[in-house]
């Protein structure tokens, strides 16, 4: 599949018969690109991720991926009462490649410890996952994705509601991962943040725009993407009023 690690052509899919939650999505993402996926709640960001993960049957179109992607959900969707440590969670990234009758390999344990160190949480490896802060939990889930070692990472609003230290760590990590030649698709509501990345995909039940931030992040495109959720601030920039909900 040439240089593209993600190739989506005319994708359409949905949950209810006859109703497309997302349609007419076509884009390529090459190794080293961070793609911001912008859109309102219910606009199709999660639907796109589910389609890329193989959880949603395509009604039309094709999806080509360079290997199984890893998925980093929003931290509040993970169980906080689950009896696991941060290291246990990072190790879950190795479960998929370990047969049920085998113990986890020593190299996987080392990889989990190294992944936690990479997200700045080596000292918290033995802490109960549910006792960590929201930003720390998000970094643990990213460490788990690092252990998976997937070429494509799907991250669902990884910077929403995290503390400044965690946000800085996560953004620095994005730069490192893209430098390693991976593709990162990052669902976000933050258009300003998206300007720092290589590509922007705007969704509102259909593809509104895709391309470089300078070409895509215009007020017309944002208006078409967010509609009434978009507000213009006093300095002329735009912001999105978002109430997060399950979708």
């Amino acid at each position: 599949m040439s240089d593209a690690l993600v190739r989506v052509q005319d994708l359409a899919g949905g949950y209810r018969p006859g109703v497309d939650a997302l349609a007419e999505v076509s884009f390529d993402a090459c190794g080293g690109e961070v793609v911001a996926v912008l859109g309102p709640n219910g606009g199709g960001k999660s639907t796109l991720f589910r389609a890329l993960l193989g959880e949603l049957a395509h009604r039309r179109g094709t999806v080509e991926l360079a290997g199984r992607p890893s998925y980093v959900p929003q931290t509040e969707r993970a169980r906080l009462d689950f009896p696991v440590s941060a290291l246990d969670v990072a190790l879950m990234g190795a479960y998929g490649r370990t047969p049920w009758f085998r113990r986890l390999a020593r190299t996987d344990r080392a990889a989990a410890a190294a992944a936690l160190a990479r997200v700045g949480l080596e000292a918290e490896a033995g802490e109960r996952f549910g006792a960590l802060s929201g930003g720390q939990r998000q970094r643990v889930l990213i460490a788990r994705a690092l252990v998976q070692d997937a070429p494509v990472l799907l991250l669902d609003e990884p910077l929403s509601g995290v503390d400044a230290v965690s946000a800085a760590r996560i953004e620095a990590l994005f730069a490192e991962l893209s430098a390693e030649g991976r593709v990162l698709l990052v669902a976000t509501h933050d258009a300003r943040q998206a300007r720092a990345w290589q590509r922007v995909l705007c969704l509102n039940r259909t593809q509104v725009a895709y391309g470089a931030p300078a070409d895509v992040l215009t007020s017309e495109v944002l208006q078409a993407t967010y509609g009434a959720e978009l507000v213009v601030l006093a300095d002329g920039s735009t912001a999105v009023t978002v109430e997060h909900h399950e979708h």
Partner: protein, 259 residues
């Protein structure tokens, strides 16, 4: 107490059941399926009654009853007009009522109490062998499925990308719950067996920080409840199944006071 062969057999039965049902309960609670556990154990009563009326082994009746109950619960839970919880409650109450109706019919042998509350001291060697085989199969399956069950319970949205489709493993857990229920129904009864599944697991999850410790402690507490319940039954001359259920239910309080 152990000089009595009936009590020895009951002890062996409850220890083997506890070994499987304690850890099974941890998974049931982590997957938020406690209501399903209670529904399944209550809903299989008609199967037990029909087996008793036909003179068949109770474990066969429990298996048939569990299959029908699981089907009815799955169908009822799908009805979006009334909601899953209400649908399951109606299905289970209907099945339980049907079982009681059959058991209280004029021609039925007077065994309803035994079916509801079990007959731990009256189990045969064949009952014990069947319960042991089923319980050990459940315990082995839980060990083999440890990682996917953990993924599906801990992080449902990401489980598939980590190699464990959540819906598949949730269904597998319900199947194991059905087998465990069938194993325990003849000895502990349709009403009481859920205590051995839920209470030791709830106690273990209160005080442990890691999953292997929770699974081991739940098995240990369930076994202790089994031994304690039989001792209580023997020395205080109380019903054995009810004594085991009471000791199981005391586990969370005991653990909280002890820690």
């Amino acid at each position: 107490m152990l000089a009595d062969p009936i009590t020895r057999r009951a002890l062996l039965e409850v220890l083997i059941l506890a070994l499987a049902l304690g850890p099974l309960g941890v998974w049931v609670l982590l997957h938020r399926q406690a209501y399903a556990a209670e529904s399944l154990s209550h809903g299989l009563l008609p199967g037990l009654v029909l087996a008793a009326l036909a003179g068949l082994p109770l474990v066969l009746g429990a298996a048939g009853g569990a299959l029908v109950a699981a089907g009815a619960i799955a169908l009822a839970a799908r009805d979006e007009r009334i909601g899953a919880d209400l649908g399951v409650a109606v299905a289970v109450s209907t099945l339980f009522g049907l079982g009681a109706l059959l058991a209280l019919a004029p021609d039925a042998p007077p065994r309803l109490e035994e079916l509801l509350f079990g007959d731990l001291l009256g189990i045969s060697s064949a009952d014990l062998a069947a319960a042991a085989a089923l319980a050990l199969a459940v315990a082995a399956a839980l060990v083999a499925a440890h990682r996917p069950l953990a993924l599906a319970a801990f992080d449902r949205p990401a489980a598939r990308s980590l190699g464990a489709p959540a819906a598949r493993w949730e269904a597998a857990l319900l199947a194991l719950l059905g087998v465990g229920t069938v194993a325990a129904a003849p000895g502990l009864g349709s009403l009481l067996l859920v205590a051995l599944v839920i209470a030791p697991a709830a106690a273990a999850l209160q005080v442990t920080r890691r999953l292997p410790a929770a699974l081991a402690l739940a098995a240990g507490l369930a076994m202790a409840a089994g031994v304690g319940g039989l001792a209580l039954s023997y020395y205080a001359d109380l019903a054995a199944g009810a004594s085991v259920a009471l000791c199981s239910a005391a586990a969370p309080t005991f653990v909280r006071l002890a820690t």
